[in-house]
Amino acid sequence: MSHDHSLNPETMPEDPAKATLEGKNKFFGLWFFLGGETVLFASLFGTFLALRNSTAGGPSGEDIFGLELVFLMTMLLLTSSLTSVYAMYHMKNNDFKKMQLWLGITAFLGIGFLGCEIYEFYHYITDFGFTFRSSAFGSAFYTLVGFHGGHVVFGISWLIALMVRNAKRGLNLYNAPKFNTFSLYWHFIDVVWVFIFTVVYLMGKVG
């Protein structure tokens, strides 16, 4: 790179994530992607809503869902959304170490969420015999929730890759947009989860 993109408090731009053209493009590109993701998840939600009562004699959502675990998962993911906000706050204040710390906490909470989800699926399969092939409800449930879980896996891998790759670089105008892009993606994963716990679990329990 021909320009010196490293940051110091004197030349710090207001928003380091959008100070370069590349940063601006990353920002637009990510939102473009999120628009598409909205439609992707809408089709999965629509399929789930259409098939959620087609249990084919197998267990229904009301039989198997446990609100305690879902509540714990919700808290983990919601909090991880806040911790990534904290990370971006420290990025704007040019505090690389604190940003890394909060990103680390975000990754930790994300892994906690993932652990709960793996346990949940394991519990459904072994204790209720509720699998992807049990019923149309089963297929729709695992596809929707699993797709979200896949997004979490991707997000955690992305975050860890970013943290390790940039550990010795410090914060500069080259990598600030990367961190910002990740944080937007991570918030979106949380948005999808809000609808999953509402539509799948809570509405499933109500009946």
Partner: protein, 103 residues
């Protein structure tokens, strides 16, 4: 250090923004607890509970988009177009898929 003042001004601004986001987070946790409480206590009839749960979710997601993802800030016209465009297509998709099984 000519622009120390601008920097401390910016820092102050960032701090205020963070405070708003923290309040947003508390509200979001509140909405979540209310939503779970409605279901856990069976406090409401299905006919009222489902729309209420959906409203709570939509409000919470609004907070997430506008505060956590900064859609309320300047220069977010494009993100708004993308997300509302996505939501529009999402509504059509869900309406179509749910309508298919009614027949």
């Amino acid at each position: 250090m000519d622009n120390t003042n601008t920097n401390s001004f910016q820092k102050q601004k960032n701090k205020e923004e963070m405070k708003k986001q923290l309040i947003t987070f508390v509200l979001m946790i509140g909405f979540t607890i209310v939503a779970f409480a409605i279901v856990a206590t069976n406090a409401m009839d299905k006919m009222f509970a489902v729309p209420l749960l959906l409203i709570l979710a939509v409000v919470q997601v609004g907070f997430q988009f506008y505060y956590f993802m900064h859609m309320k800030d300047r220069g977010h016209e494009f993100p708004s177009v993308m997300i509302y465009g996505g939501v529009f297509a999402a509504m059509l998709t869900i309406a179509a898929l749910v309508a298919i099984v009614w027949w």
